[in-house]
């Protein structure tokens, strides 16, 4: 389905921001979660997979076609993208905002017809927001707006879904709802790549995890193999414990540990502050 070979892209000649030597493949129904610290190149990689940025080296094969040789519209028919944060400019109705997803299927002078409207409505219903259909989408909550954007990407009818930190601007409940949605879409056969800052989210919703650090993948494999205490310390610089909690949870979780030296330095700091005030 998707095959990435030796991909490399840098924004600048000093090779600071970008990524190199990324290779992986993804089959229908698989969810690849890319973990990594801020500014490690996760979003840049997604933009290259979308064809928004052209690779310096390597290639991205989509169903046997090199996306470097595909037109914008052709890529958009196959690859759907959910941005980190959608910023609405105008209060379009939910239906109008979702209809925009039909753009790659329409000719330059065409606007959506009855059939497109039906597809958009199906996508809206699938997201469970049918009652919001005619509401201005700017008046919805952050979680609801995210569902609108998901409906838009479904209306696009892509063969591959790219989600850039789909949970980062949502509250706890909506984060989990979005992850459940990711699982549902994947079980319907859609391959998904998402970036995340939460190792736990990878345990929850992904079948594959890649860890990106210093502009390259340092590990890729199943969540159990890749999300280890060592790896987490390597990429985030904090110590975590990974435990299988069993019981109703029935999976591994990743929890940060308390630093032993924290209490010491904190009391020292407080003492100094008190001392300073005394003067």
């Amino acid at each position: 389905m998707l095959k990435v070979e030796g991909a490399e892209f840098y924004y600048d000649k000093s090779h600071k921001s970008g990524f190199r030597d990324v290779s992986f493949s993804l089959n229908p129904g698989e969810v690849l979660c890319i973990l990594g610290p801020n500014a490690c190149g996760k979003t840049t990689l997604l933009k290259c997979l979308l064809g928004l940025l052209k690779l310096d080296k390597g290639s991205v094969w989509l169903d046997g076609k090199d996306i470097g040789h595909m037109e914008r519209r052709e890529i958009a028919k196959a690859v759907g993208y959910v941005p980190q944060l959608h910023q609405p400019a105008f209060p379009f109705s939910v239906l109008d905002a979702v209809l925009v997803g039909r753009a790659p299927h329409l000719n330059f002078l065409e606007s959506p017809g009855k059939e497109d409207e039906e597809i958009a409505e199906m996508a809206i219903n699938a997201m469970g927001i049918a009652e919001l259909k005619s509401r201005p989408y700017t008046q919805l909550s952050g979680g609801e707006i995210q569902l609108v954007i998901f409906a838009r990407v479904l209306a696009q009818q892509p063969a591959l879904l790219l989600l850039d930190e789909p949970t980062s601007h949502l509250d706890f409940g909506n984060q989990i709802r979005v992850l459940q949605l990711v699982e549902e879409l994947a079980s319907a056969g859609l391959p998904i790549i998402m970036t995340s800052h939460f190792p736990d989210h990878a345990f929850l919703a992904s079948s594959k995890v890649a860890i990106m650090k210093n502009n390259e993948f340092i590990a890729i494999g199943s969540p159990e193999q890749v999300i280890t205490e060592d790896n987490m310390e390597k990429i985030y610089g904090i110590r975590v414990s990974i435990v299988d909690v069993g019981g109703p949870v029935g999976r591994k979780i990743c929890v940060p540990l308390r630093r032993e030296d924290v209490t010491v330095s904190k009391s020292l700091l407080l003492e100094r502050l008190a001392h300073g005030r005394g003067k």
Binding site: L52, R73, K77, F90, P91, F92, D96, F108
Partner: protein, 354 residues
Amino acid sequence: MKNQNSKPKAKEMNSAPYKRSGGLSVGVILLVVTVVSFVLSFALGRYPVSPGDVVRIFASRILPIHRTWSSIEDTVVIQIRLPRILAALLVGASLAIAGASFQGLFRNPLVSPDILGVSSGASVGAAFAILLYQNRIVIQVSAFCFALVAVALTYAMGRTVRGNPTLSLILAGVAIGSLFTAFLSLIKYVADPLNQLPAITYWLMGSLASVSTGDLIYSSIPIISGTAILLLLRWRLNVLAMGEEEAKALGVDTNKLRGIIIVCCSVVTGASVCISGIIGWVGLVIPHIGRMLVGPNHKVLLPVTVLLGASYLLLIDDIVRTIYLVELPIGILTSIIGAPFFVYLLNRGRWGWT
């Protein structure tokens, strides 16, 4: 993130669902309003002509009707009022559709058609021609060319800046706009204060009084073709309004689309400004009224702004030519009405945008 406290209030005010069919009925009503005001406008003015005679004078061009009106009435209606009324419709429609398109393109409801320097370019062109020739045709052609040159400069400058292309275009527009304003000041400074300077000042205030049939024919070609292209592309503005990156991810060649829209808007605005002079606020206010009536979906909004803009400027021009013995420049009245009305719009709920 959004301010949580202000949200429930905003929700009560604005969450009314859009009606899908609303656009069509508003469109029909506006079309009727435009046609009625078109006919009635012929009857308005210093020289009285009854609406019945207006209809008969027009009908007599096609049908053999017994002549009940004087030849003066015929001249007033056909040669004086017709070009002016058509000009008001054309210019109003142009400014309104260019404003609405630019607001969608730049994802910003505070943008007006002269954001990229069209008006300042046209002003310099007109002032320069007044300084050198004082010939009407030369003034119009020069205004049109300079308008396009200003936009081309803005566009070229915006392309050289890295980063967000719409933001760099707006910033380039600010720079080019003030550069051309400086040129305009220079021309005004060296102009003969007895006849050239008043002519320049008068041109800058905008007027439809001197539009001739010939002006109308030449300017209507770019105006109508530009408007037609914008109307054909109007749904794509919804996609662009999602933001540069998302529009690209949705398969849109944003550079090409933006280029086409900028060219159309500039040609349409330039062609109308060159016959009317500077008429402000129409392109900013009319799209807002349009969004209040039919919502922000450009597929419905653009045709509605065309009708709104046309009938609005016709109405304002009717007021301008009947209210007082000496005719007021139309640009003054649109600004006097536009500015306070805009403040009213800003305070009244927040319908037009987020």
